[in-house]
Symmetry: C2
Subunit: 286 residues, 2 copies
């Protein structure tokens, strides 16, 4: 089956606005763009996503995959995004069975807001098997944290976005930012099946956001066995990671981190010298 045809709709990622600071002075700063994208599947309205808009076609494809509305990218014939009308038109090859029914159950998730998940993502947990061979070395973890730190980004210029990234070992494959962190991971999930050949290496997923259950499940669905976050973890995130065999690492800044689950996947090849115990915490829960 051929890959889907995708447009390459682009739009500015930041906008300049005038603000007043604590001295009563006017200054001009950048804020991230945020636009609504209404997704139509075979001309039927499905959902409206609020997005930065960097990669809308991958976002829509990943959304459909992560919501389990499609099982693989080749079920899609085309995705056409038109920012003038804020619409993504998805054409499937053979329709989506029982789409009404499968989008009727609604779970409002943590994701820092009230995220909506169609169907029962949690039902998938027990079908996921992550090979025991997939590991991350501590030295690679530090290289990942450093690669993210050096990345030029919308966050650096405008703040207020979440980022995530896919690594193979310590090699960065794709870095995505969005106003919604689930959009960022969905975008990676949409990009991945379009790659006809990915290099070798265990997949590592990095996110600036908290490790919620939804983030953990989406990672596991992408075949990722190690996730790394600058933030912390929620209780359900931890429970799900434990259950699917995923190694969840949080509070990863500089040389610090906490490994919450499955430490057997983390090879301690770069233990830093002992120092007075000072643990860092992100300034914001994100």
């Amino acid at each position: 089956m051929p890959l889907p045809h995708l447009t390459q709709a682009r739009a500015p990622l930041t906008r300049e606005v005038e603000v007043m600071n604590q001295h009563g002075e006017r200054e001009t700063i950048s804020i991230p763009a945020e636009r609504d994208l209404t997704v139509y599947v075979d001309k039927r309205e499905l959902v409206t996503l609020m997005t930065l808009g960097a990669h809308p076609e991958w976002l829509v494809l990943g959304y459909l995959l992560n919501q389990r509305l499609i099982a693989s990218a080749d079920e899609i014939e085309s995705i056409t995004v038109d920012w003038d009308v804020g619409a993504a038109s998805v054409k499937t090859r053979h329709g989506i069975d029982h789409i009404e029914e499968r989008t009727s159950k609604r779970v409002v998730t943590t994701g820092c807001g009230q995220g909506s998940v169609f169907g029962n993502l949690m039902d998938e947990i027990d079908s996921i098997q992550l090979p025991a061979s997939m590991v991350l070395r501590q030295s690679q973890l530090y290289a990942i944290v450093n690669a993210i730190r050096l990345k030029e980004s919308t966050y650096k210029s405008a703040g207020s976005v979440h980022a995530c990234a896919l690594f193979l070992g310590e090699d960065l494959q794709l870095f995505v930012e969005d106003v919604g962190r689930h959009n960022a991971v969905d975008t990676i999930a949409g990009w991945m099946p379009l790659q006809t050949s990915l290099p070798q290496g265990d997949k590592i997923f990095y996110t600036t956001g908290r490790l919620t259950s939804e983030m953990v499940i989406k990672s596991a669905q992408m075949g990722v066995a190690v996730v790394v976050s600058r933030s912390g973890i929620t209780q359900m995130g931890l429970d799900v990671a434990q259950r699917v065999g995923l190694c969840a690492i949080g509070r990863a800044t500089n040389k610090h981190f906490l490994c919450y689950t499955h430490p057997e996947r983390l090879v301690l090849d770069a233990v830093p010298p002992a120092a007075p115990a000072v643990r860092e915490r992100a300034a914001s829960p994100s």
Copy 2:
């Protein structure tokens, strides 16, 4: 009409877990609790919320109000929360008209995830009028930021939660934390109508999270004309604040802040002495 009868279901807010740090050492830390609460309205399942669980009854009431499923608290006869089964049973006095229809349209919002809003919150914008008299003094803003800083919290003990708070002038009325930041604001929205007498003063809303369109609209619906955030603003949050006449203040830490919209509501009575321009940015987009 009498106020609704509410249970006072309580549950632990944190959980201890064992983690491994960068030295390969085991340590015990606290993480926030996260539980699912399925809301039934007159025995019909409405939604499942993921919550810390501090004030589930106020959360449910505020959720119904903020989703515009009810217009006032006295439409509710009782809310009964039972954590053993993770259920909130809502009994209305006269039912909710057209509930099926009104919960069918789904907008996935930014809220750091994919938040779900029933109906068209945005349609309400033009009906909101915030009196021009409602202002905040810069000295009060600094008192608010300091009051939040001093607050004992789940965040300080376990991280990974968002907080919000309602102030009257600089006087703290209610401080709420939750794993989902929209839950936190919904909880305040549910608490407010239960207060038979609030002291005088303009309502000020504080949030640790970004000022998204949803956060701005919910604030305006509560009659709040000034919102303060430690984080930044999104484009739609800014657009909506501009339109409803709400003063949005972000990046508020120490003596710094940025006023994004309607600076005429901010009285500059405590301008700090000039210093080399160093602007702070939160470590995480939250």
